[in-house]
């Protein structure tokens, strides 16, 4: 279950990985998601290796089909990550967009 407190706790870590550059290490495109992500499907999800070698998951936004491959350069951005909870709290988190 998603509680507002969980979202708040997670935000402390999110700000540390905003605006970071890296390369796609793994990728897929989800066509059959869970309940909180149903309205966004299909959506691509990537595992990015940042320049400091840290690996971070996120959805890939503002992308074209050609961007979905291992090695594409991306940057982390702040985005709404799932449908708002019953408490109405909107969860923001990390997504990535291709570096043009």
């Amino acid at each position: 279950m998603i509680s507002p407190v969980k979202i708040w706790r997670r935000q402390k870590d999110i700000r540390k990985i905003l605006g970071k550059k890296g390369k796609i290490f793994l990728w897929t495109k989800i066509f059959t998601p869970g309940t909180s992500f149903k309205k966004y499907a299909p959506y691509p999800v990537v595992l990015v290796e940042l320049e400091n070698n840290e690996k971070v998951y996120g959805q890939l936004v503002d992308q074209e089909q050609k961007d979905l491959k291992i090695g594409t350069k991306v940057i982390s951005v702040l985005r709404k990550v799932r449908t708002a909870s019953v408490d109405g709290v909107i969860a923001y988190g990390i997504k990535f967009k291709p570096l043009k």
Binding site: W27, T28, T32, S36
Partner: protein, 383 residues
């Protein structure tokens, strides 16, 4: 030495007229009947189940099993995602190793089709890391990432993966307890809709209901009176990081390699001695990785080897894989799967596998995986 003396499984599928505990009861009655074991002679019960708490708001299932059996013995429930059944078996064996002259009931069960696919996918995702869940990843998504990596690294295509599903669906036609009992073609697989690219519906195991049960014993007086028994040479369990991103190699399941190496060492047999195996093909890529990680094929060869169809029943191969239909065609009620796999090997080694009986099967292996590879259980049995 511990022996399996009986096995029963319900049919797997969309069993809308049966609850989780209806299925559990059917499996218990079935396995006790097959072994002529009175329920009062069971010393302990091990129950593999993943989702009753998350989906059905049913916890303390151990007490419910006590009620069904009308006994007051120790009952333990294990949860390790899709390896919940294998883990229950492993724990039961450990219990027998520590206690002489005991009979144990090992049962795995899951009720999944009461809920929408989205609800089930969300519940299954509870077995992924928080970060993976937050990114909208599902289990098909995690295996799809592994598949993309594998196909690119070893220069294979989606067609190589499709051979796994075609084989296992053929085996499913031979198993009257299987969820799906129809043959499919390579084109059927390739034309099915994507679940998570590059994995499609026909690369994926279904959402199923079912329960499977085994009697295991080290009570020699009881074993002597049994019509059938197979010896448990080894059951080994290994774990790894819950998150795929923390793994060193993406084209292998390390927990499988570790559990397998330990199991073969304990069993004192070679890979080539195994005649039948039930492998954890939750997605087509998973069976290929398993064949490599268990040491049957070399790393990277699996995509080519699967096309040769040597592991398909009737082709005269030395090792036949997933005669039950695997998770793909037999169905995947997650808590039951690990027990059904061991049960299928029991049937094969005791000559009870009917129209899918592998001739002269002496050694068999069952391989059960939890999550994206965070838990693996490898069990080796001998006739």
């Amino acid at each position: 030495m511990n022996y399996i003396t009986g096995y029963y499984t319900t049919k797997f599928g969309e069993l809308w007229d049966k609850s989780l505990f209806d299925l559990v009861e059917e499996a218990i009655i079935g396995v006790l009947k097959s072994t002529n074991l009175e329920r009062k002679k069971i010393d302990a019960v091990f129950f593999g189940n993943m989702l009753a708490g998350v989906l059905g708001n049913n916890l303390h299932t151990t007490s419910k099993l006590s009620e069904i059996l009308d006994v007051n013995i120790p009952v333990f429930r294990t949860e390790a995602a899709c390896a919940s059944g294998g883990t229950a078996f492993n724990l039961a064996k450990t219990y027998l190793d520590a206690n002489s002259n005991k009979n144990v009931l090992v049962i795995g069960a899951e009720k999944m089709t009461d809920y929408s696919p989205e609800e089930v996918i969300t519940a299954l995702s509870a077995a992924a890391s928080g970060e993976e869940q937050e990114a909208g990843l599902t289990f098909s998504g995690l295996y799809a990432m592994m598949a993309n990596f594998y196909l690119e690294k070893y220069h294979y295509t989606e067609k190589n993966l499709a051979y796994v599903s075609v084989k296992n669906h053929y085996h499913g036609t031979l198993n009257d307890k299987a969820h799906f009992r129809r043959k499919i073609s390579i084109d059927d697989v390739l034309e099915s809709a994507y679940v998570s690219y590059p994995l499609k519906v026909l690369d994926s195991s279904p959402i199923s209901d079912g329960a499977s049960a085994i009697i295991m014993s080290n009570n020699l007086n009881f074993i002597k009176k049994q019509d059938y028994s197979v010896s448990v040479l080894a059951s080994e369990i290994a774990t790894d990081t819950i998150s795929l991103k923390s793994r060193k190699n993406i084209d292998e399941i390390l927990a499988t390699k570790i559990a397998s190496d330990k199991a073969f060492k304990m069993a004192r047999i070679k890979r080539s001695d195994i005649n039948v195996a039930e492998l954890h093909d939750c997605f087509s890529i998973a069976e290929i990785l398993a064949m490599e990680d268990l040491g049957f094929w070399k790393k990277g060869e699996g995509g080519q080897k699967i096309k040769e169809e040597s592991t398909k029943y009737g082709n005269g191969g030395n090792l036949i894989v997933n005669t039950s239909g695997g998770l793909k065609a037999s169905g995947h009620p997650v808590g039951a799967t690990g027990i059904k796999q061991i049960g299928e090997i029991f049937l094969q080694l005791t000559g009870q596998a009917n129209n899918r009986q592998v001739k002269n099967a002496k050694y068999g292996l069952a391989h059960n995986v939890g999550g994206s590879g965070g838990t693996a259980v490898v069990t080796i049995l001998s006739s």
